[in-house]
């Protein structure tokens, strides 16, 4: 049997790209890492494996705690982590969702080609940067009063349709059609609402960005056609989350769990895994608040997409509808959802926690919108601003291996502090423009340095593993043209 050791953790190779940490001691299940040898070597360099092993202590964790190919150290639960817990005798863990509830990505397609855009890159990147709020204190597309915030929390993208920022077609191409009807705005604190009111429609900063891309490679022609994607096409990728409202919601419930369920917390190896017992009042309230924050994040990305359509209309001097600017799909990265999965031959309802992981349902799952019911859902995997991104489709093996999940990005390799020592933002920007024709505009050089292409893992390798495991199948690859960051 092939094994690998990292510190006191031994992994056994189950089959190609599948590694297992056997159940022992207080673990409630084994843990699995889905990675090639090269990716596992990187994953083993920080505390990812320790955090993954810790995640197996969550009550009711089912089958395995799983690390996706892009996994890396987070806080509590690793980024790239998937953990399913029973909704009757398990738990729900805000720590396994993360602070940025429904951080996610969406892709908008156009009928423009790269040739249509060439010569306008500088104008477009400046116009997008001017129009789309980003960074700290950049405001939002909309400033909401109390009634507006509650409406957004309760109705998600349906609010955006009524307010003129979205179309019915947008709703039909969003996970859960853009709103969670389990949302309970009354369980979102006033503090969280205060933080959200001037951030509705804003990128934020960190690794969040908006990128105009061109499709460079098509791997599955039939699926690409179903997704409306073809070579040389211009698409727009938007990556951001629920902003201060979501961050505060997670913080509030972590503290409440600390106060109200200290006994459960004492049994967990890391306080950041904070979990509320399934069926408890706190679990129900957190689920309602988290679903409301999910709605907020969908509206956030929708408003940014709306502004992007307006900018394209200005720059290309035509109505955005003439450019066929359609939402391909919007997928969440940090989320816990009640889903039914087959476990030991029986259907069970589980809280599927995905923290830095993407739902990747294959054809046939009832949750998929009609447009993708027969082909599988689009999965959008952003790379760094100097590398390609991918569109996958949910793979047939995802339900058996990962509760219908795959990776969410390239995954960080280098710390932010080290990145600022290694890279100079202005130099990175110049090199990207001169060597790869990528136009980057950011609030600060430090942001560019922290997000330099070299700080990320090889997204091609992450996607290769996903594709070979059959959890997310390669459909197209894209390459950046313009990128704005907070």
């Amino acid at each position: 049997m092939t094994t690998r050791e990292f510190g006191d953790i031994e992994l056994r190779r189950v089959r190609e790209h599948v590694w297992e940490i056997p159940q022992e001691g207080e673990m409630n299940a084994p843990a699995r890492v889905l990675a090639s040898e090269a990716l596992l070597e990187q994953i083993g360099q920080d505390k990812t494996l320790e955090q993954l092993r810790n995640a197996t202590h969550l009550p009711g964790i089912t089958n395995h705690a799983i690390c996706m190919p892009d996994g890396h150290q987070g806080y509590g639960f690793p980024v790239g982590g998937v953990g399913a817990t029973d909704t009757t005798d398990g738990c729900i863990s805000p720590g396994a969702v993360g602070y940025d509830i429904n951080c996610g990505v969406r892709m908008m397609t156009t009928n423009l080609t790269y040739e249509d855009l060439q010569g306008k890159e500088a104008e477009l990147v400046e116009a997008l940067f001017d129009a789309i709020p980003s960074g700290l204190g950049g405001g939002g597309v909309v400033t909401g009063d109390a009634e507006t915030i509650d409406d957004i929390l309760a109705r998600g993208m349906e609010w955006a349709v009524d307010a003129g920022y979205a179309t019915e077609d947008d709703l039909a191409h969003c996970e859960d059609e853009g709103f969670r009807d389990d949302a309970r705005p009354e369980f979102v604190s006033q503090k969280a609402k205060d933080r959200g009111r001037n951030q509705i429609g804003s990128l934020g900063s960190g690794n969040h960005f908006l990128e105009v891309q061109r499709v460079t490679d098509v791997y599955r022609e039939d699926v690409a056609e179903s997704f409306g994607l073809e070579a040389d096409q211009i698409v727009v990728l938007i990556h951001c989350g629920s902003r201060g409202l979501g961050h505060q919601t997670c913080t509030d419930y972590l503290r409440r769990i600390e106060k109200e369920h200290a006994d459960l917390l004492d049994d967990l190896p890391d306080k950041e895994l904070a979990a509320a017992p399934a069926g408890s009042e706190l679990a129900e309230e957190y689920y309602g608040a988290m679903c409301a924050a999910i709605n907020f994040a969908w509206v956030n990305r929708q408003l940014i997409m709306h502004r992007t359509r307006e900018v394209f209309a200005d720059v290309f001097d035509r109505d955005w509808r003439e450019m066929d600017m359609r939402l391909l799909y919007d997928v969440a990265h940090n989320i816990a959802k009640k889903e039914v999965h087959e476990v030991d031959g029986e259907d069970r309802e589980l809280y599927v926690h995905r923290k830095g992981a993407t739902r990747a349902f294959p054809a046939g799952r009832p949750e998929l919108p009609p447009a993708y019911a027969d082909v599988g859902q689009p999965v959008i995997i952003p790379g760094s601003m100097g590398a390609g991104s991918y569109v996958l489709r949910g793979g047939d093996s995802s339900l058996d291996l990962t509760f219908g999940s795959t990776a969410h990005g390239a995954g960080r390799l280098m710390s932010r502090t080290k990145a600022k020592q290694e890279y100079w933002g202005e130099t990175v920007q110049e090199e990207l423009r001169e060597q790869q024709k990528i136009y980057v505009k950011a609030q600060s050089g430090a942001t560019v340095a922290e997000e330099a292409p070299g700080v990320y893992k090889d997204v091609d390798e992450v996607v290769r593993v996903s594709d070979e495991l059959g959890i997310g199948d390669k459909v197209v690859r894209t390459f950046p043209v313009c990128n704005i960051k907070g």
């Binding site: 150290q73 700290l136 205060d194 913080t251 106060k259 306080k271 502090t417 609030q443 942001t447």
Partner: protein, 136 residues
């Protein structure tokens, strides 16, 4: 009091030291400010805040959370922190102040939240040490 930004794969960590609990709390807060901004302008008015919690660690967590909240609702970067910490019965009380630098005067990046991950707050021979990871 002093702080150092420490490496963390995805986020940022602050290691801080101070002669007293109040000093080390303020030092961590200065580290939070440094994580958001490289050059802090000398502008802005001071504001006060106060939190109470059930333990020293919870008080540190709530204090840093409150600073992030004040940042977002006031639209300022909190800087030049002062804090005192005292015990009142079963609770720990933090009285603090910071200078609120208008966002218009700085180029700053978001820090999303304070975390308990790897949090350390210990008294040693030379005072107090703390280690806090922030979500970026």
């Amino acid at each position: 009091m002093s702080f150092t930004l420490r490496e963390h794969t995805a986020d940022v960590a602050v290691e801080a030291a101070g002669d007293s609990l109040g000093d080390v709390f303020a030092a961590v807060a200065n580290g939070l400010t440094a994580a958001m901004c490289d050059e802090v302008a000398a502008t802005g008015d001071r504001f006060s805040l106060s939190v109470r919690a059930e333990s020293r660690e919870a008080a540190l967590f709530d204090y840093l959370d409150e600073l992030i909240y004040e940042r977002d609702v006031r639209g300022v970067l909190p800087a030049d922190h002062d804090a005192t910490v005292r015990q009142e019965g079963a609770e720990w009380v933090v009285d603090a102040s910071a200078r609120g630098v208008p966002f218009a005067d700085v180029t700053a990046r978001d820090v999303k939240a304070v975390t308990y991950s790897e949090m350390r707050l210990e008294e040693g021979d030379d005072g107090w040490d703390a280690y806090v990871v922030f979500d970026v």
